[in-house]
């Protein structure tokens, strides 16, 4: 070897002299865990500062410290780091599972209470504080109509916008559109609600309504559209970009004009992916409460006309029941929440399955 290498020998050797390394025995980790828990229990109960939860939390911290110290002493710093991070990552997982499981469990157990035919066939019209009945029929109608109209508005607009970005857009203008689509994904739902309130409910709707501003399901659909649009544009854009270039070129080579190629070849190829994106956008929009609260107003009775008068939605129903003083309200709120989650999850699962079946999307 050259002399430079010899001089390198003064630094921590890059090459181990032996491949063998001292390792912590297999029982070390469990032993440290038990010791940590025991120590933690002694500390907590000895000083009487808390209960079993604190024992576990303190025990976990002591375990991490003990593991690091032991591994550091036996296996060296790198291995100690590796072990400690590994333990931390695993505990992050456990830590997060607890509340999420609790959410799901509560949702199912509390939601089942009113999950009956009456709930899905009646509205809240003439339901007083002492009535145990009452249902979410009107809210389900509202959700479906609002989300339906929002989809009708956003799908053509979003797909065309994505086509512009991918196929036609060049230069700064297309970049600006892309950039603002990204920015738009970050607009809070309440802001989109306020926008439609300021624009549609307060300014436009008086024209149709004898000069008085009017809440309506359609206004909610507009607000949801503002939220869905960027989502649909982004996903469609991604899907269009995944369409292989030879496919387009094959069509161009046949003398098919570009617009026809896009509509007949590119979009159909990307279609499953586009549909997936649309379904996920719908799932998100269906769960939005704030914009509906601001521009549809909510209501207790069934209103199937989305263009006039107050309309409710499932998420808004949950919120309103949550704020209701009736002792029967929480049960209704949880059942509506369960229905809403079921609706959203069915959409999401269907979208994911579709995406999985389709090779183009990921």
């Amino acid at each position: 070897m050259t002399t430079t290498v010899t001089s390198h020998r003064t630094r921590p050797p890059a090459q181990p002299s032996s491949l063998r390394a001292r390792r912590l025995p297999g029982y070390a980790a469990p032993a440290i865990a038990v010791a940590a828990l025991a120590l933690s229990a002694v500390i907590v109960y000895g000083t009487d500062i808390g209960g079993p939860v604190l024992v576990v939390v303190l025990g976990a911290i002591l375990y991490l410290a003990g593991l690091f110290a032991a591994a550091n002493a036996v296996e060296g710093r790198r291995s100690a780091r590796n072990r400690t991070w590994s333990a931390l990552i695993h505990s992050a997982f456990v830590l997060a599972v607890l509340p999420l499981v609790s959410v799901v469990w509560t949702l199912v157990s509390k939601g089942a209470e009113r999950f009956d035919a009456n709930f899905f066939q009646t509205s809240m019209n003439n339901i007083g504080a002492r009535d145990p009945n009452g249902g979410a029929y009107h809210a389900i109608v509202g959700t479906l109509e609002q989300v339906g109209f929002a989809t009708l508005i956003t799908v053509p607009l979003g797909v065309l916008c994505a086509i512009y970005i991918v196929e036609y857009g060049r230069g700064k203008f297309a970049f600006a559109i892309r950039f603002f689509v990204d920015v738009m994904t970050g607009i809070p739902s309440i802001v989109s609600g306020l926008f439609v309130l300021a624009f549609w409910v307060l300014v436009v709707s008086p024209w149709f309504n004898d000069g008085r501003p009017s809440f309506s399901g359609f206004a909610a659909a507009l607000a949801l559209s503002v939220l869905m649009l960027p989502t649909i544009v982004r996903s469609t854009e991604e899907m269009l970009r995944l369409v292989p270039a030879p496919l387009r070129e094959g069509a161009y080579a046949l003398g098919i004009p570009k617009w026809k190629t896009i509509l007949r070849v590119v979009v159909p190829t990307a279609l499953p992916g586009i549909v997936t994106g649309v379904m996920l956008a719908i799932a998100r929009a269906a769960g939005e409460t704030a914009p509906v609260l601001l521009v549809a107003g909510g209501g207790a009775a069934i209103n199937t006309n989305p263009f006039e008068n107050n309309q409710s939605s499932l998420s808004l129903f949950v919120y309103q029941q949550a704020g209701d003083a009736s002792k029967y309200a929480p049960a209704r709120a949880w059942t509506a929440a369960l229905t809403l989650v079921a609706l959203v999850l069915i959409l999401t699962i269907a979208a994911k399955l579709l995406a999985r079946r389709n090779r183009l999307s990921r």
């Binding site: 590796n82 300021a198 617009w259």
Partner: protein
């Protein structure tokens, strides 16, 4: 929100190869394709929008379709501009009527004959709760994402990843309801405990009551954005090229070192995007916080006493009783929220775009 926004993230990270590989041919073919259209006799393809346009024969279906897509693209810019314009238009009269300083007054009584309202406490509460939520959620979310992508057995990782994606789709009102009905109990107990032993710290001080506090709101927010950040970062981590991971391992890296050398740097733009998206959700979250915060006015760092309020939660709570000026005041507060999220978003996008250029020029 589940799936889609992450695509913005992978366009900057994993998606580059696919995107690049066809972007050039698509651009090239555009030139090829336009020639036959303009030379062809217009009578041959009098389909579509041709009839709706001026008689000039240069205008064909191609132009019409192109114009249609351009209009759709422009609509995005128009909507953003319209949001700003209408919010400002409705906010200004209310701000004029305000008899106190909008920035510094601590309180919200815009419905009186002498309207008094200030954004300070609300903006403070919004930023505080969102920051706390991210502080708690991001490390855990990255931990879970790494667990799912690089520690868990592959099948388990995929299955759990799917579950996380589903949780990311659960509406916020459900988390709010859960926070208000269930989670408040352990949080209250914890608050009492903190108050007893750490009451000397101002953030844990006070005499109660405890429970519907900034802490509860921030925790619910954290739990809510956790699946979102996890889902997006997991996607990004999974896209790390195996070749780079193997390169790190072949240099003798431990698993953690492999993650540090290959996976985390590669995923950084995606992580930033995920965190910013989470921040955006946390800042704008309305219903979950309207259900879990104590709704008081006043700037306080106390985390455990009943209280706390945010711009969005205040809009949801105060909207019902608002008169004309009240609505305007709420819209003004929404404008402030819009500006805050806009700044956060533009900053995040700028970071991502710059990094994307770096990696793309490199690739």
């Amino acid at each position: 929100m589940g799936e889609t926004p992450h695509r913005s993230a992978d366009a900057g990270t994993g998606g580059t190869r696919v995107t690049q590989s066809h972007e050039w041919p698509a651009g090239a073919s555009a030139r090829v394709a336009e020639a036959p259209v303009s030379t062809r006799s217009p009578g041959g393809d009098g389909l579509g929008g041709g009839g709706a346009l001026p008689r000039s024969r240069k205008f064909g279906a191609e132009r019409a379709f192109r114009g249609l897509t351009l209009a759709a693209g422009t609509a995005v810019l128009v909507i953003i501009a319209a949001i700003a314009i209408f919010l400002i238009a409705k906010a200004v009269p209310a701000l004029r009527a305000n008899t106190e300083n909008f920035w510094s007054y601590e309180g919200w009584s815009p419905n009186e004959t002498q309207p008094k309202f200030g954004i300070g406490t609300l903006a403070f509460g919004t930023v505080l709760s969102a920051a706390l939520a991210l502080l708690m959620a991001v490390p855990v979310a990255l931990g879970i994402a790494l667990y799912l992508s690089h520690y868990a057995p592959r099948r388990l990782g995929t299955a759990l990843g799917f579950l996380v994606d589903l949780l990311a789709a659960v509406p916020s009102v459900v988390f709010g309801l859960w926070g208000r009905d269930i989670f408040i109990n352990p949080v209250r107990d914890f608050s009492v405990w903190l108050n007893e032993y750490f009451g000397w710290l101002p953030i844990f001080g006070g005499d109660g009551p405890f429970g519907k506090s900034i802490m509860l709101g921030a925790l619910v927010l954290a739990i809510m954005v956790l699946p979102i950040i996890t889902s997006l970062s997991r996607e990004v981590f999974l896209q790390t090229p195996t070749a780079n991971e193997e390169a790190a391992l072949a240099l003798g890296a431990t698993r953690w070192e492999m993650l540090r050398t290959a996976v985390l740097p590669y995923g950084r733009p995606g992580i930033i995007a995920a965190v910013m998206l989470g921040l955006g959700r946390a800042l704008g979250e309305t219903i979950a916080l309207a259900l879990t915060l104590g709704i008081t006015f006043g700037i306080s760092f106390n985390l455990i006493q009943n209280g706390g309020n945010t711009i969005a939660a205040n809009i949801a709570n105060a909207f019902g009783e608002a008169n004309e000026t009240g609505r305007g005041a709420l819209i003004a507060s929404g404008l402030v929220l819009f500006t805050i999220t806009l700044i956060v978003n533009i900053t995040a996008r700028a970071i991502i775009y710059r990094r994307r250029e770096f990696t793309e020029s490199a690739a």
